[in-house]
């Protein structure tokens, strides 16, 4: 769950006494941290920035293994891992990359999240390196490797688990009302109506965080118009928002909201503080559209529910839509990218290969993640819940397209503005047509 930028955006630990000049103050402050943190170019030690959540132990193990390996000795370099607390990751990376303390290798979300760095010429284009290296080329699922691309070029190597968005449901609520998970949109609407008659909120939704609302739009647009609709927007054509699929999806969202599918209070429910998962686990809501991390969230907060009553299904297909019902949205994974000013390129590339190794994949599996390596299928039997791990892996492996979360794909500036429009749409402050018009105007 930690690897979503919107969670990353919450950095409220700072006191803003002076509104005046706070921007500069903080910027200089952060740069200072950056330069003290990164050892940068000296002594054959490369710095790697990583999002500092619980999963970081997998990367730490990889670094320890690499530093002792023959490959490290041959390349003449070792890695030093810098864990950046999640809520500060994006701003800290941004300021560090503009300073002499820039990391040599760093964690990111691919796509738009690295676009400013690519445009500023700060990243190594890894396309040829991956093409010419057996380990990197054959090491990962192709759709995942491609999902982090920018204009068809690779700038990153997958390094964490996959995070597809899944339709979770409460098995006991479904059993009580004699329901089965929907495979078509009509079935979903039918279930919605039945649950409402029974006094159960059909869907939990953490609307105050906005990105859970985005997940609905992502799937609806994909099912209605296919991944090409968003691909066009991602490639910089704002007119792409004018695609009929976007308007139709926005209308379907409004219908669901007006219909009470998310209950009446979803705009003040949060996912991050545990509100939406609790509503779902306690049976107040029957379904929850959420990233694959919902399983580990529930396992942590409501273990009984996670083990007995948590069910999962793909997002249903929509009759008349042109998108393949096997398509997936979410975060394919996270990536390592390499700074163009890396002091020891050979060592950095040798370290990237560590992410394709069997040991690395095994560590991810033990952590409850589903690796994006091509050998992962063989290891899933050791997962905390093999059935769930296999479901996820198959879902992603068979998906013709894996669309990166729109906010990640568009980057921080556009993503933030799009969030505002989505929040207005769900809160009823904007109509579907005004939503489309506003999005077309985003730059």
């Amino acid at each position: 769950m930690g690897s979503h930028t919107s969670i990353g955006g919450r950095s409220f630990s700072r006191r803003w006494v002076l509104g005046a000049g706070a921007t500069t103050l903080l910027t200089t402050g952060l740069s200072a941290c950056g330069s003290s943190g990164g050892s940068g170019s000296g002594g054959g030690t490369l710095t790697a920035f990583v999002y500092g959540d619980d999963a970081v132990k997998v990367q730490q193990a990889a670094v320890d293994r690499f530093n002792k390996s023959a490959a490290a000795k041959k390349a003449g370099g070792t890695i030093k891992l810098e864990r950046i607390p999640g809520s500060d990751y994006s701003p800290k990376l941004r300021t560090a990359m503009g300073s002499p303390g820039a990391p040599d290798v760093f964690f990111n979300w691919g796509g738009g999240s690295i676009k400013p760095y690519v445009e500023a010429g700060k990243l190594i284009d890894l396309t040829d390196i991956i093409e010419n290296d057996e380990v990197l080329k054959k090491g990962f699922l192709p759709s995942v490797l491609a999902a982090g691309d920018l204009k068809g070029r690779h700038y990153g190597v997958p390094m964490r688990g996959m995070q597809p968005v899944i339709l979770f449901y409460n098995k006991s609520v479904f059993a009580e009302h004699k329901l089965t998970p929907p495979t078509t949109w009509d079935q979903l609407l039918d279930i919605n109506a039945k649950l409402k008659r029974a006094g159960v909120t059909p869907f939990a939704l953490g609307g105050s965080d906005i990105w859970p609302e985005l997940m609905w739009l992502e799937y609806l647009v994909d099912r209605l118009g296919g991944p090409e609709v968003f691909r066009r927007i991602q490639d910089g054509d704002a007119e792409g928002w004018g695609d009929p699929a976007v308007l139709k999806a926005a209308e379907m969202v409004r219908d669901l909201v007006d219909d009470g599918a998310f209950g009446s209070k979803f705009t003040s429910v949060s996912y991050v503080n545990g509100g939406a998962p609790a509503v779902f686990a306690k049976g107040k809501a029957a379904m929850h559209l959420m990233g694959s991390w919902e399983y580990s969230t529930q396992l942590g907060k409501f273990p009984d529910f996670a083990k007995k009553d948590l069910g999962w299904a793909p997002f249903p297909k929509i009759e008349g839509g042109t998108g393949d019902a096997r398509n997936v949205v979410g975060n394919p994974t996270n990536y390592w990218s390499v700074n163009a000013r890396v002091s020891n390129k050979d060592a950095a590339i040798a370290f990237l290969k560590e992410s394709a190794s069997r040991e690395y994949a095994r560590d991810l599996v033990a952590n409850g993640d589903v690796p994006t390596t091509s050998n992962a299928a063989l290891l899933l039997g050791d997962a905390p819940n093999p059935e769930y791990a296999r479901f996820q892996y198959q879902m992603v492996e068979e998906a013709p397209a894996f669309t990166l979360s729109w906010d990640q794909a568009l980057g921080d500036e556009l993503g933030t503005k799009m969030h505002t429009e989505i929040s207005k749409l769900f809160a009823g402050k904007s109509s579907p047509s005004r939503f489309v018009a506003a999005c077309k105007g985003l730059k």
């Binding site: 509104g19 005046a20 500069t24 105050s208 209070k265 003040s268 503080n273 509100g275 933030t416 929040s423």
Partner: protein
């Protein structure tokens, strides 16, 4: 701080100067202020004429950010919200803090204990306070199980209330201090003339506290203009953009959109507005003339 000394010495410059410390004693303070407030402010003002995403060098763009600021419909909405928040916070905090402060200046039993309790919210950090109220206002598990933060008016009132709850103790303290300075003879004279408590409050306490009101108001108003953590934690500017006040927009532009040029323009605009407002307040209330409330007594 503005509410400092209102002494008779100020009207007699020659004698006053003799007892004053030399300017050099102010140097550390001035340097500190210059380095941590003036320099960043000047830098932010410079950045407002550039385009900068935090990578590489800022690129000069002339007045683009300022033009954008004038044309941005979100700024208009946010100005209105900021204004509304300032007025509501001022009304709420001034009325309650004035009454509490005057009461706390008296000699009632348990007054000291209660005053100490009133003071506690000020000891908590804004972030802790906001997180606490965020939990209390949770629509499913909080104490008020309504869509408070999801409705525009609810979210706005919550911000006014939480801010008031947190900062009222400070203003209560200021009013308490002010009320204790009022000479008891005034009340004794009024009592002899047959004035009741209400008449005494409006004819003696309130006029005597006018400088205190100005001090506290300037703090509340400038404070409301830079209100930030509560909004970020409670509403993130939502629902939609209905609580996105100026400091929040600045944060969003700077640290979510990495548009530091535009964020700096908003910040500079805030500085100008806040300075202008406090100057205006001081001028309008006659606070700047430094006339004592006890003149002629």
């Amino acid at each position: 701080m503005q509410g400092a000394e209102v002494s008779e010495a100020a009207t007699k410059p020659a004698r006053a100067r003799a007892g004053r410390p030399r300017a050099v004693w102010a140097l550390p303070g001035v340097l500190f202020f210059a380095f941590f407030a003036v320099v960043p402010m000047v830098l932010a003002f410079y950045l407002s004429f550039t385009e900068w995403d935090g990578l590489g060098d800022p690129r000069p763009v002339g007045l683009d950010n300022w033009k954008k600021l004038i044309d941005d419909p979100r700024i208009t909405q946010s100005l209105w919200l900021t204004f509304l928040l300032t007025v509501c916070s001022w009304l709420f905090q001034t009325v309650v803090a004035l009454l509490l402060g005057v009461w706390a200046a008296g000699k009632q039993r348990n007054r000291a204990v209660l005053s100490a309790i009133f003071f506690t919210p000020l000891l908590l950090s804004s972030t802790a306070v906001a997180l606490l109220f965020y939990a209390l206002l949770d629509p499913n598990f909080g104490i008020i199980q309504k869509d408070t933060l999801g409705s525009s008016s609810g979210a706005f009132l919550a911000i006014v209330f939480v801010g008031g709850w947190q900062f009222m103790p400070l203003h209560t303290l200021i009013y308490q201090g002010g009320a204790r300075q009022i000479p008891q003879v005034l009340y004794q004279a009024a009592a002899i003339d047959g004035a009741g408590p209400l008449r005494q409050f409006f004819s003696i306490t309130l006029p005597q506290l006018r400088h205190t009101v100005t001090t506290s108001s300037v703090l509340i108003i400038v404070g409301s203009l830079t209100y930030f953590e509560t909004v970020l934690i409670l509403t993130k500017g939502g629902p939609g953009t209905d609580t996105a006040i100026l400091p929040y927009l600045m944060y969003e532009a700077g640290f979510k959109s990495y548009d530091f040029g535009y964020a700096s323009a908003i910040a500079s605009f805030l500085v100008v507005t806040a300075t202008g407002l406090s100057l205006l307040l001081v001028r309008l209330t006659g606070f700047g003339t430094m006339r004592s409330t006890r003149e002629g007594m």
